[in-house]
């Protein structure tokens, strides 16, 4: 991370959820985020990749203080985010906003979409009356929505239009940083490309910093300048996007990339089919969390017993593997 001035820094973050198991509801911890450290520079896009249960969504929710982590630190522009409260927390929320996967689930179905975009302006006392009305119109135009749509309800819009409303709502308070949690996963391919283009334009014009969470590596490849791959609550690989996606070091990243279907029969690659399912975050395996499914030929007792460190394997590219 030589010349990247860190803007958003996460240090040793941990978040567990108590889960009831069995007939008598004995509570056991679910390790959603076990130990995550990362740094994002201003104006860049960090792509956060992982399968279900990897902890990427919990991490996203911690970043915007929708969840309170058990341990660790989040520092944004020099401010300790976890220590904030009251007015300082509200000010932080104006600077960092989140966009969810399914705007159908995150928008109030009985609120017209214009009012949904106006709401944050009023909550944060940024505008009211005619000024708020004009700001909403400007936001609609900025995200490529006809301002005439402001009187519609969410169910009257297409998936792509609803996601544009979700983005406009996040932009209403003038944030510098957006945490995008699977922003295009629910959309059809032809519409997905439209929303990705919009996100790129917004980033350029507003100088936004993005934390872009996705399970689709091909989408992340288009958006991210850096990529972090999560597995079972930990980052297993991290580095410049082109390096991680072209020359992955961790065996999980290698397998994940090989599993993505290629839309071209002429270049069908060899798929590495991992055995089994991702292990349960209720009972993470000892040692390297990936060892039960790892196809690496050198896998041995050390992998079963000792958690590998996230070490530099190539310039600026780190992987959590004893043998990568």
């Amino acid at each position: 991370m030589s010349d990247r001035t860190p803007w958003l820094v996460v240090e040793r973050l941990r978040k567990t959820f108590p889960v009831a198991r069995g007939m008598f509801g004995r509570r056991v911890p679910l390790y959603a985020v076990t130990d995550v450290s990362l740094a994002v520079a201003r104006g860049e896009t960090l792509g956060l990749v992982g399968e279900s249960g990897s902890g990427k969504t919990t991490l996203a929710r911690c970043l915007v203080r929708l969840e309170t982590p058990d341990a660790g630190r989040i520092v944004y522009d020099g401010t300790d985010v976890l220590a904030l409260g009251g007015a300082a927390l509200r000010a932080f929320r104006r600077r960092v906003q989140i966009v969810f996967q399914d705007p159908y689930g995150s928008l109030n179905p009985r609120l017209r979409v214009g009012a949904a975009v106006r709401e944050p302006l009023e909550i944060h006392r940024l505008a009211r009356g005619q000024e708020a009305h004009d700001r909403v119109a400007a936001l609609f135009a900025e995200v490529g929505l006809d301002p005439a749509y402001r009187d519609r309800f969410p169910h009257e819009l297409s998936g792509g239009q609803r996601q544009r409303v979700g983005i406009a709502r996040a932009l209403a308070v003038g944030p510098e940083c957006l945490v995008l949690d699977e922003p295009v996963s629910a959309l059809d391919v032809s519409v997905q490309a439209q929303v990705l283009a919009l996100l790129r334009d917004l980033q350029r014009h507003r100088g936004l910093t993005y934390v872009f969470i996705a399970h689709d590596l091909a989408v992340v490849r288009q958006m991210a300048t850096r990529v972090a791959v999560m597995y079972l609550g930990r980052i297993v690989e991290e580095g410049p996007a082109d390096a991680v996606l072209a020359t992955p070091r961790h065996p999980y990243t290698v397998a994940l990339l090989s599993a993505v279907p290629v839309p071209d029969p002429a270049t069908q690659r060899r798929r590495i089919v991992l055995p089994g399912d991702p292990p349960s975050p209720l009972a993470p395996p000892p040692g390297c969390p990936f060892h039960p499914r790892c196809p690496h030929p050198q896998k041995d007792d050390r992998c079963r017993q000792e958690l590998p460190a996230l070490d530099e394997k190539a310039p600026d590219q780190r992987a959590r593997c004893h043998y990568a």
Binding site: E51, G159, S190, Q194, P263, P265, Q268
Partner: protein, 328 residues
Amino acid sequence: MTALLEVRDLRVTFRTADGPARAVDGVSFALAAGETLALVGESGSGKTVTALALLRLLAEPPADVDPASRVLFEGRDVLQLDGEALRRVRGAGMAMVFQEPMTSLNPVLSIGLQITETVQAHERVTRRGARDRAADMLALVGLPDPRAALGRYPHELSGGMRQRVLLAMALVCRPRVLIADEPTTALDVTVQAQILELLAELRERLGMAMLLITHNLGIAAGIADRIAVMYGGQLVETASRQTLFREPRHPYTLGLLRAAPRLDGPAAPTPAIPGAVPPATAWPTGCRFRPRCPHAWARCETAPPLLEAATAQQARCWLVEQPGGAPA
């Protein structure tokens, strides 16, 4: 090749508050024994309704299947069958797996009971015989310890394991055609790879034909012999998978191929198709892709039929007859 399954001019209309929705509007295709055809399209294209109509799984009303539509399975029209005859087609003839394994399984019945029930619904077998068949099938789809798995419940299994159970249930009567509707969409990519591998392997071992419904061109590229692209309730292009990816003739197919983000090739942003799929209650007049098409010209105000574009390739586009491109 004689067709095992032949669909002729399938039309399904739904009665909705906004008027009739012509969800499937004149779809015809044939599937030969052992062949895999992928039906590719985005949401609202009509691909799932097509699949459900083949097995008579649509509730009528609100669905209304045109009396002139034909679904010929081994020469008999499935749309005219009922009772015992329909049940026979559904078991050993055509079987279906759905996208969401959790909602397709009964949460309060054990896996074993659900599979043996399937066998007993379609064949005269003893309960013990049905149970043996269920265990064999679970072994075939790669469930560890199949005998023990018979006693387990859906919630005790992972998403990938549930999809394997559904496959076992669909295949236990040895159907000649498997209809798979987005069978890996709800799964993680590493688990998706397992299921795709399993589908290809089962297809070889059991010699069955497959109709794969998917929105993912990459999945179609990896497993299908032929691909049919749907848009607006119609087939807009059919071709072998090699031809479809190398020389697509319909602008929508080309648009989809270009829009799909991919891991090979340059990392540049992919171009979107402008606009959105129109609702089935209001298909555009003329060519249904016209409002989004970069090549639309005067002739597109008349709806094009599926035109022969090359050997074994058809496209619903007037450009097929205008190889130099649309007139300016």
